[in-house]
């Protein structure tokens, strides 16, 4: 009874003194959530947030406000305290991940439940600081580990984790866990803790030299961006001549891979002109992996998978990815595309 009175008294005094936001107190949340969501509670208790008095209400505002949002907290709320990180984040491509996904024809072609289970799980990073700083520990040490990036940057379409893990950088880091010995993902891509993950990156996912908003970068701008990476990061361990040589080598690999794609595209365009394909082919960036001819599907694998392994593998210094998963498979796909074209032509002759 006494407790209840005290509680009401405290609430009333809060309502009077800070009438705008203090309708609820941390005690209200904990009374239930300590039991009902023990895992979350325990993570928060051990977090730096808890030590500094950042509690449920600070981020979730109130029970009524949290509920319709399914407890999501947007980056701008985090930005109230972490202003610098928030601003840096806005300069990187993570901050447009959701918008870019929504525009993409492959996303639009998926049934809703699949959209949710596939694309949206990773592309939410645009609105979720806790993609990397997972709730409710928000532990920087965890977010800095390559494993934190791996959740999204893995698998067929972007095996960055696999490329890194099979490079000498990744090998040494995985054994020593010492970022002075060898770089982790954040050493290069979030240099000195910047949250602009586009730091030092010249190309977008399609290999085009553009800025975050898709505006092409001039030759000078490209060099400037690369210089940030090379001078800021690589020179900590490598000499200038060797570093520049490595990047130029990766540039050459990228161009050679592009030439193979062009050769394959030419084969398909010729078929198109001869009227052998039933409709005009969408190849490359906006291509879908469904309901196309087989020869287009072969090109899809080249463009979306094998080409990416070749050029991104080269910039991540993974010989295995660049060569065997990438280049060798590009060459084998080209053989298959040419053979498919030959058969399609011959079969048309037979029908006549």
């Amino acid at each position: 009874m006494f407790k209840k009175t005290l509680f009401l008294f405290l609430i009333l005094s809060f309502l009077i003194s800070v009438p705008v936001w203090a309708e609820e107190k941390i005690g209200d949340c904990l009374a239930c959530h300590q039991k009902e969501t023990r895992g979350i509670f325990q993570s928060w208790v051990n977090s730096k947030h808890a030590q500094k008095g950042v509690d449920c209400i600070t981020c979730h505002k109130s029970h009524d406000e949290a509920k319709p949002k399914k407890s999501a907290v947007e980056p701008k709320v985090c930005g109230e305290c972490h202003r610098e990180k928030y601003d840096q984040f806005q300069n990187g491509r993570h901050s447009i991940a959701w918008n870019r996904m929504k525009e993409h024809p492959q996303y639009q072609a998926l049934p809703d439940p699949l959209k949710k289970a596939f694309c949206e799980r990773c592309h939410t990073i645009q609105d979720k600081c806790n993609s990397c700083h997972t709730s409710h520990a928000f532990n920087p040490a965890e977010a800095r580990e390559p494993e934190a990036c791996k959740k999204c940057h893995t698998g067929l379409a972007g095996p960055h984790d696999e490329m890194y893990a099979s490079s000498l950088h990744g090998t040494v880091y995985l054994v020593d866990k010492n970022p002075v010995r060898a770089p982790s993902c954040v050493s290069c891509h979030m240099h000195k803790g910047t949250h602009n993950i586009s730091f030092g990156i010249v190309y977008d996912s399609w290999g085009n030299p553009v800025d975050k908003d898709g505006k092409p970068l001039s030759k000078e701008e490209q060099e400037e961006v690369r210089k940030q990476m090379v001078k800021g990061v690589c020179f900590q361990c490598h000499i200038k001549s060797l570093t520049l040589e490595r990047f130029e080598l990766a540039d050459a690999v990228k161009q050679r891979a592009k030439a193979l794609l062009n050769e394959a595209e030419k084969v398909i365009r010729e078929l198109e002109q001869e009227g052998i394909l039933s409709r005009s082919a969408v190849l490359g960036r906006n291509q879908l992996y469904q309901e196309s001819s087989r020869i287009e599907a072969l090109y899809y694998r080249m463009d979306h998978f094998q080409n990416v392994y070749t050029w991104k593998g080269a910039y991540h210094f993974s010989a295995d990815f660049a060569h065997w998963y990438g280049w060798a498979h590009l060459q084998m796909s080209l053989i298959e595309i040419k053979e498919e074209a030959r058969k399609l032509r011959e079969m048309r002759k037979m029908r006549k």
Binding site: T171, Q236, A314, H323, Y325, M332, I335, E336, K343
Partner: protein, 375 residues
């Protein structure tokens, strides 16, 4: 007499020029490492810090000991060759030179596959791993040169992985690899070096009684000549000596002999794929035909099936066989010896059988579709 005087004069002249050009502080033994450190501590802090923590630093092995001087280092892009490391580590160098690691760059350079890759991008692919012939720091990475690191399976895994030789993946899916990963204790289960570099030998070919690179069945020595039956048995005995650390001799022998039989079956299946393609070639159905394509860099205008077959510029049916022999047969037989049932069966044997179906179907289609043309 006259020419040797000339050479002496040139040496004196060039060394005095070098002294004028670079003003390093010289001690009686050479350049003072302090001279290097004053810049490199700031310019390459990662490299410097790794060295500081190394055993080299504790034992007084510094920049100059290995890199000689700034100009020499600059000219060879700071590379230090095994001969140099061998001045202090002669036993390891001697052992290394008995291993296939020590001929890996030379072997790569005469491979058709390597020669078929555009010259300017070879360094991004093959050369990165095959440089082990001239680089002790492939495994003992600069500038920490840590033994703990070099002994870890991940150190081998940087090269020994992927479609063409997934040693890392085979090991990780074997009971050996699983127990080691869980316990990190080499007394509980072997890691790569337990079997391949026992007692720290740098002859990584120790105890290996089967063909190189996994694409041929015969066993050869460093000069690529087949080894005798006796030598083969001696090597097998060497390896069984490792197994008996945990297993009975009879059990170890049985397991390896079973792997021998698995290997034979893999190569037999591969032959069936070959036969189907040879028939197609005789029928004139290959496109591009042998005459229409670029000649093989080492074999000329021949139908090359299995090593040293190329993945570039061939017909589709040959490309199907490439996958069968290069990616799948190697899983069958090498995973047999690494005791990974998922690799030897699922990724290996089953895939080979599926490849064979594809090859036969392709052969039928070629005859059906282009058969009329040939009549």
């Amino acid at each position: 007499m006259k020419s040797s005087a000339k050479i002496l004069f040139l040496i004196v002249l060039s060394s005095s020029l070098m002294m004028c050009a670079s003003p390093p502080k010289k001690t009686t033994e050479g350049i003072d490492p302090g001279f290097c450190i004053q810049c490199h501590q700031e310019r390459t802090p990662g490299l410097f810090q790794s060295w500081v923590e190394s055993k080299h630093a504790k034992n007084g092995v510094h920049c100059i000991t290995c890199h000689i001087d700034h100009q020499a280092a600059s000219e060879q892009k700071s590379m230090v060759f095994p001969g140099k490391c061998g001045e202090c580590h002669p036993k390891q160098l001697g052992e290394f030179r008995k291993s296939r690691h020590s001929i890996s760059f030379d072997r790569m350079r005469i491979q058709g596959e390597y020669l078929a890759i555009p010259q300017e991008i070879r360094a991004a692919f093959c050369e990165r791993c095959h440089s082990i012939q001239t680089r002790c720091n492939s495994c003992h990475t600069s500038h920490r040169f840590s033994l703990k690191e070099a002994r870890d399976p991940d150190a081998c895994g940087g090269c020994h992985l992927g479609p063409d030789h997934p040693h890392k993946e085979m090991y990780e899916t074997s009971l050996h690899g699983i127990i080691y990963r869980l316990t990190q204790n080499p007394d509980r289960a072997p890691r790569c070096i337990t079997c391949h570099m026992p007692q720290g030998t740098h002859d990584s070919s120790f105890g290996i009684a089967r063909g190189p690179a996994g694409t041929r069945s015969e066993v050869v020595d460093l000069k690529e000549t087949p080894i005798s039956k006796e030598e083969e048995e001696r090597r097998r005995k060497e390896m069984i000596g490792i197994c008996t650390g945990c297993h009975s001799k009879r059990f170890a022998q049985e397991q390896l002999e079973n792997a021998d039989l698995v290997k034979e079956e893999g190569f037999k299946l591969q032959e069936k794929g070959k036969e189907a393609i040879q028939e197609i070639e005789k029928g004139g159905f290959l496109s591009p035909s042998l005459a229409e394509r670029l000649p093989h860099p080492t074999e000329g205008r021949a139908l090359v099936l299995a090593d040293p077959q190329l993945y570039v510029g061939t017909s589709h049916i040959e490309r199907l066989f490439f996958t069968m022999f290069k990616f799948h047969n190697i899983r069958v037989w090498k995973s047999g010896y690494h005791f990974s049932p998922s690799y030897t069966h699922g990724y290996g044997w089953a895939e080979m059988q599926l490849d064979l179906i594809d090859i036969k179907e392709e052969a039928n289609k070629l005859k059906e579709i282009f058969g009329g043309m040939k009549k």
